[in-house]
Subunit: 283 residues, 2 copies
């Protein structure tokens, strides 16, 4: 396994693979890897001969500098985990390489980015689409894997790739969960023991919502209100948003009908913001 922070090295290595007829899967990450990331890496190997992982805590997607500063990092552990999974190359660019002094260019997906996480994190998705476009141009993958845990991000990236005609297939990876149901996230490490115990209440509430739909409930307001109550009762400090949305354009649904529906939530436990989502209904 190679680790490079210079993009020129990455470009040369990938060029060599392609010349040899090999395909490349890419898993962009912000590091502090957990089982969820490893699952994305395994998905990558199902679709390509080589897997490239990037580890980069991208400053342009953080709306609060405190969140950027406190984002957990552990390069040594990340490298060991990648090595064990058979990753071929880790790309670890620096801020001055990614955003040099005269940097001016941003990629922005409209509409899809304005609600949910976009409403309370201004500029977040513009930062995500910009860095992902940059990384795609450097790594030149055939396939890129994005987790369904960040559902809105997945849909925004899919739209960017289609709109800008990028020659890349986006493969979604399923959300991995701890035994108690909490969606795996690097941010979980920042939960207090008490909040860590309470946070599985998010998924329990989402599961309860799925059951209500299965039992015939079609009223969106009722479903949201009941789920909200359960999450607050579990000990959440505040719910950033809780929405039932059309699964592709992310617009809020007024009623469950014949369109695919997703429930998406963002919840604060203490000062740690956790997100999760489930499919409520697929036609």
């Amino acid at each position: 396994m190679q680790i490079h922070e210079r993009m020129e090295a990455v470009v040369e290595i990938v060029k060599g693979w392609k010349k040899a007829g090999e395909t490349v899967a890419f898993v962009p990450t912000m590091g502090y890897l957990h089982e969820g990331h490893l699952s994305l890496i395994r998905t990558g190997f199902q679709h390509a001969d080589r897997v490239v992982v990037s580890i980069y805590v991208n400053p342009t997607q953080f709306d609060r500098s405190a969140d950027l500063q406190s984002y957990p990092r552990d390069m040594e552990s990340d490298a060991a985990l990648c090595e064990r999974e058979g990753v071929d190359l880790i790309f670890t660019p620096t801020n001055t390489m990614m955003y040099p002094e005269h940097y001016r260019t941003y990629v922005h997906v409209e509409t899809l980015t304005e609600r949910l996480c976009g409403a309370t994190r201004p500029g977040h998705f513009r930062g995500v689409t910009t860095i992902v476009a940059k990384l795609f141009n450097i790594v030149q993958p055939d396939v890129a894997v994005f987790g369904q845990k960040d559902y809105q991000q997945l849909k925004v990236i899919e739209r960017m790739v289609e709109d800008l005609n990028m020659p890349i297939t986006i493969v979604p990876g399923p959300t991995l969960r701890e035994d108690d149901g909490l969606a795996m996230s690097s941010r979980n490490a920042r939960l207090t023991p008490e909040h860590r115990k309470a946070a599985p209440g998010i998924y329990a509430a989402l599961q309860s919502c799925i059951k209500a739909v299965e039992a015939g409930e079609r009223n969106v307001d009722t479903l949201i209100s009941d789920t909200r109550k359960m999450i607050m009762a579990a000990g959440a400090k505040r719910i950033d948003y809780i929405d039932i949305i059309e699964a592709n354009d992310l617009m809020p649904l007024r009623a469950l009908d014949n369109r695919p529906a997703q429930m998406a939530v963002a919840v604060f436990f203490g000062d740690v913001r956790l997100i999760d989502n489930v499919s409520l209904y697929r036609p």
Copy 2:
């Protein structure tokens, strides 16, 4: 020579060339080709084995729909000219292919796009960078040629390519001129005979400004004011802008010093807007 409007056809053809070890130059155009475009095509062949020309009047870069409607078109002549130059492939996408119903993604270069043409044509450069990013992703060229006549556009594209780490070399092509000095442009065809006779006054004024610099004039206000007077005296209806700028970041210079300086103008003759630029000083 092949002509395709389907991007899938273009992708396949280019893939074949690359597999055979051939390199690809790309010349994006809005059609109504003249000697200036043909010069860009010849520049393309100096840098690559194959040349792809796109002909697409991109609606997102027109700020006035009247300008879009009246933009001249002549596909038959364009195809004949490309054939004669040995162009390998013409790509003629349609609006519904480039901007389908759910289209949402835009590429934007900040700062560089806010002045000069950007000040009076809101959204113009966002449209340019977006369509060029799309075309680059479809055509996957090694080299792309852009004319220096559209100086700000050239600098904006160079910045986008560098910022987004696109694996493409941008090659500038010199401005071609009619015998009387008027910069070649598809828009010249829309000038009345009287305005056509008067329009070479733009380049004459720019030449006169160069001579003044050579004679030792360093005062930017004097240079601009004298050039403005000459252009108006030649019969211009209105000057949109006339500026002396640093040649790379396009910021206005207060004095000619040791930095490369460019004079750029946009001038209306009747309702036709013409642009031109010259290098005043290169260290």
